[in-house]
């Protein structure tokens, strides 16, 4: 036990002192913050820039549309004779026009510009032309447009789910699916990240040839377990730091955006967080992250032990990535029906449960026994895979010179030690 502790300490301390760890830990929350706030911020900047009025030339034989198009704060329509269009087209940058609308007939309208027209301008133009044409069509069919407008229903939908205690919570499907997807995706990334950290550690020891020195002092199983737990603690540390830093970043961002009226998003987040059992989600996340990591990292360690260098890894890693990728690619179907048969079984099956269960949980429809079953199976599975892996590992780390095949790996399980 002392020796496992020594190994854990080394695996942990070497990794958390690495520059790459420190940089990743600091930069990731900033990147996430940027991902969340940058679109809103950029949008507010670009809408400021869009304030200048754009001149749009209209070319039309009969002036049906031209009369009806309304200038707005940002668009100024000018009718232009057809003869001038060639001139403008050839010399867009020097002309005062931003775009030309060529109305060939009732069905064909060309919008010509040198640069990509920004979306809000385009929306306005298309919307106006569409409305004008629609109005004309209704008139021709003798439909009273005013009556029609007054008949269109004015409804608002309110989504409410009832929790076990009978209380009502505001339920927003879109927000929940985003949360689901984020959780599932994070588990996927974490399993990969820390699993391959274990694998690289094994390959390093094997290709450095230090493993024989260590194996003459400790059992291979102790080395394997020490490494897996050490890296798990690295992951845990990183995760906690990320959460703390994210809270800091979010607070700073909130202060920065409060004037720009961008806090709608934050309000949304905090509202949705309140509508969901956040402590359950958080605990489940930690558990499924750890469970999934423990299950997969012993596979990753096996692969590290089976190859001679990192370039051989690709081919062997495929089988263990398939269930992970499959879980992620099934995400859409699972979000469509979070309590369906597919979602249920995938959240019980240990190789996919960490991702799929995390995706199901935000919707709140998972029964207690399902969670307990899924957790139990996950724990039993990782105990089993760690045992299998340690048997492959103890042989693999001392095999040099060739890449083992899967057939050989299975044989190694039965070798006497």
């Amino acid at each position: 036990m002392d020796k496992i502790w020594l190994i854990i300490k080394r695996e942990y301390s070497v990794r958390v002192r690495k520059k790459s760890f420190i940089i990743m830990t600091l930069v990731t929350p900033l990147l996430f913050g940027m991902l969340i706030f940058a679109p809103g911020y950029l949008d507010s900047i670009s809408s400021d820039l869009d304030q200048e009025v754009k001149n749009i030339a209209i070319v039309e034989e009969n002036i049906f549309f031209s009369n009806k198009l309304m200038n707005s704060e940002i668009i100024n329509f000018t009718q232009v004779p057809k003869s001038e269009t060639e001139l403008i087209k050839n010399n867009f940058s020097e002309s005062s026009y931003y775009a030309i609308i060529e109305i060939e007939n009732d069905e064909q309208i060309n919008i010509i510009s040198k640069k990509q027209i920004n979306k809000s301008t385009l929306d306005q133009i298309e919307n106006q032309i569409y409305k004008i044409k629609e109005y004309q069509n209704f008139n021709e069919a003798n439909i009273d447009v005013k009556l029609l407008n007054s008949l269109s229903p004015n409804l608002s939908f309110n989504y409410i789910t009832i929790d076990e205690k009978g209380g009502e919570t505001n339920s927003n499907y879109a927000v929940k699916s985003v949360l689901s997807f984020v959780f599932g995706f994070l588990i996927y990334i974490f399993i990969f990240m820390y699993g391959s950290m274990v694998m690289r550690g094994v390959i390093e020891e094997k290709s450095n040839r230090i493993v024989e020195v260590i194996i003459s002092s400790v059992k291979p199983f102790q080395l394997l377990i020490g490494k897996i737990i050490g890296v798990a603690m690295v992951g845990f540390t990183q995760f906690i730091l990320w959460i703390l830093l994210s809270i800091v970043v979010a607070n700073i961002a909130e202060m920065a955006f409060i004037e720009n009226n961008q806090i709608g998003l934050l309000d949304n987040i905090s509202m949705m967080v309140k509508s969901i059992n956040i402590s359950l989600l958080f605990l489940s996340f930690i558990f499924y992250f750890m469970g999934g990591y423990l299950l997969y990292s012993s596979f990753f360690a096996c692969i590290g032990a089976a190859v001679d260098n990192e370039s051989d890894v690709q081919q062997m890693i495929l089988p263990i990535t398939i269930p992970l990728i499959l879980s992620l690619s099934m995400m859409e179907s699972i979000l469509n029906n979070p309590d369906g048969v597919l979602a249920f079984w995938m959240s019980i099956f240990p190789l996919s449960s960490p991702i799929v269960m995390m995706a199901r949980l935000p919707f709140g429809g998972v029964e207690g026994w399902e969670i307990i079953l899924s957790i139990t199976i996950l724990i039993i599975s990782f105990l089993f895979t760690t045992w299998i892996s340690s048997r492959i590992y103890r042989i693999g780390i001392l095999m040099y010179g060739k890449k083992a095949t899967f057939k050989e790996l299975i044989k190694w399980i039965n070798y006497k030690s």
Binding site: L6, V14, V213, S216, L398, S417
Partner: protein, 298 residues
């Protein structure tokens, strides 16, 4: 009987998938001696060393360390320097040595004290805070040597300890090995360099194709392999001899075999008839000759 030996291995058999690595090998290593484990590449030496270190287990056979059946707890009594040895490249030398020493069961305080002593002795103390990747191969080898002997094991196992060392450091390490022997440590020593075997080993086992084919005290073996041939240097370049075979000749130097019914006295008499003798000495086979001979004939 067994307690006079630090290590006894009886009838060790180890079968790998496609070949028999050790075929019924038995060795007894007396306390306080340097025991040479010789043999061509792939003969099974490293497998035997791995078995003694409990890195791998034999299919059958028994091993005793100091009279007790070999068990996991004996790990701290054995120091092993494998042939393929390495260190963590990104770790600092001192930190890493402390880690490896602690894995052998030493306390941090004790490990620190002993490491400082050995680092001074091997003249590597100023590398304590350097990363291993900054060291040359020879420097790293010295660190590995220090880490191997640090816990004062009863039995040390060196697999090709001199590979990668320049002559100065080779002699430094050789002297350390001899000093360890003086202080009572038993040593198993595997190498291809036959001259170092003659210099340091007391007893040897020669393994070929997984079998032990020659075993015993080194002087006894060398005696056994004497074939009664003599190296002669004389003034005559065309020496003619009756009843004696000239095995080899190079100008005025001859290698002559004396038949059983004759003696060196008679040989000298004959030579003196046609020449003066500059030197006359029995050819004692070197370990290299014995090695090559035995392996080829075996």
């Amino acid at each position: 009987m067994e307690s006079d030996n630090i290590l006894t291995a009886r009838n060790i058999i180890k079968q790998y998938e496609d070949h028999l690595a050790l075929n019924d090998v038995s060795i007894s290593i007396p306390k306080g001696c340097i025991y040479g484990l010789l043999g061509p590449n792939g003969a099974g030496k490293s497998t035997l060393m791995k078995i003694i270190n409990q890195i791998t287990a034999p299919d059958s056979g028994e091993i005793f360390l100091g009279g007790e059946k070999l068990q996991k707890k004996h790990i701290s009594k054995i120091g092993y320097l494998p042939e393929e040895r390495g260190l963590y490249k990104k770790m600092k030398v001192g930190e890493q040595s402390l880690y490896l020493a602690q894995l052998k069961g030493m306390s941090k305080y004790e490990a620190n004290k002993k490491l400082k002593y050995w680092f001074e002795k091997l003249n590597i103390h100023e590398w304590w805070n350097k990363k291993v990747e900054e060291l040359s191969k020879g420097m790293a080898q010295k660190v590995q040597f220090a880490v191997t002997v640090i816990h004062k094991p009863d039995l040390l196992i060196f697999d090709e300890p001199f590979s990668g060392f320049d002559p100065v450091n080779t002699s430094l390490i050789r002297n350390e090995i001899l000093e360890l022997k003086k202080s009572g440590t038993s040593i198993i020593f595997s190498t291809h360099r036959m001259e170092s075997v003659e210099e340091v080993c007391d007893e040897i086992t020669l393994i070929n194709n997984g079998k032990s084919i020659l075993q015993g005290n080194i002087n006894y073996i060398k005696n056994k392999y004497r074939n009664n041939s003599f190296e002669i240097e004389c003034t005559n370049e065309n020496l003619k001899l009756e009843r004696f075979d000239i095995l080899d000749k190079n100008k005025n130097r001859y290698l002559v075999k004396i038949p059983e019914k004759s003696s060196s006295k008679e040989l000298i008499k004959q030579i003196l008839k046609s020449s003066e003798i500059v030197s006359f000495k029995e050819k004692i086979p070197s370990m290299e000759d014995i090695f090559i001979n035995t392996v080829q004939n075996g």
